[in-house]
């Protein structure tokens, strides 16, 4: 069977658009979460991405292009560049597999609140498949150009579907990942109403407000950004002399089908087992898990329960961290960003910390990466978990090589 490898990485994140610099900042435990929208009745915090759209578009090209698409084009272009000389590739044999939870939130918000006239390109700006289409336009992709909108698992699912397409020989090259940009007042208010955001009593508490698996956790902060990976067959990568960051050797998808928003450990465990099975690995082969870890009261212990039920006696050997404490929850782009982080953890054999967890909740007891700067000399395989509202669970499994 054809192995699938990762040969390019591109990101636009709250920690910048250089994957190595971003990873280094995470390794140091630097939080990018800051206070936003002081005019809102309830204090809010989020992680916004530093980004200059004019580096990627002329002003004329920006007509009808929402930020969510701008971020996607930038990250996908950086990933393509990072993959080096792609050799001869038929545009019909390239695919874009992009995750997006909401689409162009800023365009919708502007249409409603911006002024007397609704901008004429509001619809093509906010449609959730716009980011994938703009990536295709920019890179002349004529193969499948698909969007996966699966809430917080969107881009993890997109990467799994891309890997399937590469493995099946449907495409030679997949641009896989996702983008999200919904840090606008209306969306922040909606998430506050959902009671899932971390409480921020004072502005100077924003940076440490997200505390996954901690006894005093109170939820997540929204983040924005985009991440894309270039996937191709191991054989093709070898033939063109490409650098391979890691092999994407397993993926598992499942649905809880128990509740729209309440997570379910057996459902998550099914996705974890499916990923291990596809990779032909045992739980103890996995050294690191980049957890979904949204720091909600309900979510974190359920993820712990799912991992423990699959890992059994080996759970103590699995190192776990949720990097959402530092970059926020990128929702539809979370799976892609966290896949990039997991790949870099393997590549550098270093594990980013589970920050701000001074006192671990006994119900979340695991071998958490509590210190910044931890090395993992023998790390061979790692997983990235993404569990969505709607009940869909997606697990990606990467191996060195």
């Amino acid at each position: 069977m054809n192995g699938v490898v990762v040969t390019g990485l591109g990101v636009v994140t709250p920690h910048g658009d250089d994957p190595e610099a971003m990873f280094a900042a995470l390794m140091r435990g630097e939080s990018a979460i800051k206070p936003v929208f002081p005019e809102l009745p309830k204090p809010a915090a989020a992680a916004t991405a530093p980004f200059n759209e004019l580096r990627w578009f002329t002003k004329l090209q920006l007509a009808g292009v929402d930020r969510v698409s701008q971020l996607a084009v930038a990250a996908a272009s950086l990933a393509m560049k990072d993959a080096g000389d792609l050799g001869d590739v038929d545009p019909e044999r390239i695919g874009v597999f992009a995750g997006c939870g909401m689409g162009g939130a800023a365009s919708l918000e502007t249409a409603y609140r911006g002024g007397p006239r609704v901008p004429p390109l509001t619809v093509p700006a906010f449609m959730p498949n716009a980011p994938a289409s703009h990536v295709a336009l920019r890179h002349g992709v004529n193969g499948p150009v698909l969007t996966y909108s699966v809430a917080c698992a969107s881009s993890s699912v997109a990467i799994a579907e891309a890997a399937k397409a590469v493995q099946a020989g449907d495409v030679d090259l997949a641009i896989a990942g996702g983008s999200e940009a919904l840090i606008v007042p209306g969306v922040v208010l909606a998430w506050q109403a959902m009671q899932t955001l971390a409480s921020v009593a004072a502005p100077d508490e924003a940076a440490r407000s997200v505390r996954p698996f901690a006894a005093d956790r109170s939820g997540f902060a929204l983040g924005e950004g985009a991440g894309f990976l270039i996937l191709e067959s191991a054989e093709r990568a070898r033939r063109r002399g490409a650098r391979s960051y890691a092999a994407l050797s397993g993926w598992g998808l499942s649905c809880d089908a128990t509740h729209l928003t309440k997570p379910d450990a057996p459902g998550q465990a099914r996705a974890l087992r499916a990923a291990l099975r596809r990779a032909g690995l045992q739980p103890r082969d996995i050294g690191y898990c980049n957890a979904h870890g949204t720091a909600t009261r309900i979510g974190d212990p359920v993820e712990r329960e799912a991992l423990a039920s699959v890992w059994g006696d080996a759970i103590g050997e699995l190192r776990v961290s949720s990097t959402k404490a530092l970059h926020g929850h990128l929702l539809g782009a979370a799976g892609a960003l966290e896949a990039v982080i997991t790949v870099l953890a393997l590549h550098h054999r270093q594990m980013p910390p589970n920050a701000h967890c001074e006192s671990v909740d006994p119900a979340c007891q695991m071998n958490l990466v509590l210190q910044a700067g931890e090395r993992a000399g023998a790390l061979e395989a790692a997983i990235s978990n993404s569990f969505a509202f709607g009940g869909t669970n997606s697990v990606l499994l990467f191996q060195r090589g």
Partner: protein, 109 residues
């Protein structure tokens, strides 16, 4: 007076394109104004002059043609007898197509 200069200023302000880089008789589409960008620009022109341009010319393709259309529309507006409170509406009338959603009735299953 022709509105061409004002249109050139607007193109510069919105897109950073100098007047010298866009010949008034040159195809705007060939200069990167695709149909979407053109729609957005026409909205900006309407807002700038507080007018509503007739959308009866799909072949509109040069700045000079657009300037002529703006001039014609401005002239027509000036010729109208002004009535008290007869301002050009900034918000165009929107035709709302009524979609009837039947009220939920007893479950049909």
């Amino acid at each position: 007076m022709s509105s061409l200069q004002a249109l050139q200023d607007l193109v510069h302000e919105k897109y950073g394109i100098e007047a010298s880089a866009l010949d008034p008789n040159e195809s705007m589409r060939e200069k990167g104004f695709d149909s979407l960008a053109l729609v957005e620009f026409i909205f900006a022109v309407e807002d700038h002059f507080s007018i509503r341009l007739p959308d009866d010319d799909p072949n509109l393709d040069t700045l000079a043609q657009l300037a002529a259309l703006v001039d014609k529309t401005l002239a027509a507006k000036a010729a109208q007898p002004a009535k008290a409170g007869d301002a050009v509406p900034v918000v165009p009338p929107v035709e709302i197509q009524q979609t009837v959603h039947p009220a939920p009735s007893a479950p049909s299953a």
